[in-house]
Amino acid sequence: MTAPTGNRDGTPLLEAHDVQRRYEAGESTVHALRGVSVAIRRGEFVAIVGASGSGKSTLLHLLGAVDAPDAGRVIFEGRDISRLSDAEATRLRLLRVGLVFQRFYLMPTLSALENVMLPMAEAGLAPAARRARAEELLRYVGLGERTGHRPTQLSGGEQQRVAVARALANEPALLLADEPTGELDAATGAALIALLQRLNADGLTCVLVTHDAALAQSAQRVITMKDGRIVQDTGASPS
């Protein structure tokens, strides 16, 4: 299988240095992150856990250049991504970061194959190449026979696997997933966990936010957050 790419040389792929993020909620200010520092090494499988409002999704958004910190820096592949323009951040997400959400957010009018081909078209891949890679990715996630089906013709687990395939479209270095099993039953959730483990085993760096204990247990490293801070990290490098 050639879908994921990456290596396990142990060098940091992603680093957050004292990042802070706050939101204005009416007249009050919510401190979602209060100075978080973390380093994710290449090839790691990291689960970020914590209660609702602990800041784990906010951290994920900063790590994926979805959002920008109010203070601190995020370094991805040696590049500071905390002050990117919208176009630069969009390009980074297109080519280097794959995102998976609790809800699948597939385009309902497109087939599974077309959904997976979308980011490749945006990246400028030739039509034949993008079709071949999309078919390969769908086979990888176990949907090789359902490439022509639309999202409404697929089960929740199948839709999430299409979303994973879409996230892998441009061979990202990092896969970020926000509650990927949140909408799935136990059996399909377990299948998705197995898929993510396989992706990681093939070299892809995965960072997940989850409430799912089973998913958290499957990770090599668990980061626990509370009130916008990391309170426990099972795999932190000794400083």
């Binding site: 999704s57 958004h61 994926g64 979805v66 959002d67 919208d86 176009a87 969009t90 390009r91 980074l92 997400r93 297109l94 080519l95 970061v97 794959g98 995102l99 959400f101 809800r103 957010y105 597939l106 385009m107 309902p108 979308l118 980011p119 945006e122 990246a123 879409r166 996230a167 441009n170």
Partner: protein, 305 residues
Amino acid sequence: MRLRFLRAPHVALLCCSLLAGPSLLGAQTPRDTVIGTPTVPLAPGRVAPSVRGIAIDERIAQDAGVRVGDTLRIAAEAGTTGEPVVVDALVRRSADPSEVARSEYRVRLHLDHLQRLTNAIDRVDRFAVAVRPEAGPSAVDSLLAGVNHVAFGFRAHASRDVAVESSRTFQVVDRFHRAIGGITIVASAVFLLCILLLKVEERRRAVAALRLAGLSRRTVALSVIAEAAVVAVLGSGVGAAIGWVATLAVNAHYQRVFRTPLTFALLTPRIALFAVSLSLVLGIVAGALAAWRLVRTPPLTLLGR
């Protein structure tokens, strides 16, 4: 003048215009169609037959069951015996919107017959003079000026002036239709914009996911605009097709009601093309507005975070 149509079981009032000219079938408007067997025009010095021929409206023929060759009696005054006449021809009225709502019947007689019947030997209301096709507008104007210079008690008009005068009502109606069209376009544009905004609102999360997956604002905006354009073109195409079917139904209904070949509703290829083109422009504008609103919003906000 009123004539009583005596053969019919019911009494029908006939309104007859005096026609000048040598032929019985000198049509009141050039586009009236003579159907049936026309009578040979009276030649100068020729003696009229004892039973004269007339031409009647096709409507009378239909309502009273009269056919060409039937003998009728006509009289200038109600209650009098009248005289026998033979139906020589039927006249189908032209598609004249100024006459569409008129329900009276018409009978055409030879001029000398009409003059004798009405005892109006030296009186006509109006008559038409045809000019040769090769005569240009300047020749007509010159002729009119000459006639009007010596005319006493009447006035000559060019047919184009008469047409302009008689069509003023329709010019007002035309402006009214344009106003309705303008209002419809504005309302349609607002409706289209609202529909597109709603459609975009429905897809906020999917669009957010695409933006997060790396699709640029430009790509998202272009896709929204392209979709809007396609929807607008398809919608206007379907609308034009429905409109065309509606024109067939409207024309069939009102042509039957008013017994006229007049076209009441018209959808030409040019109108259809204009509608589709306008719809395309409106669709693109509405799509651009919807897309602008969408791509300005950060993806996380679109996701409700």
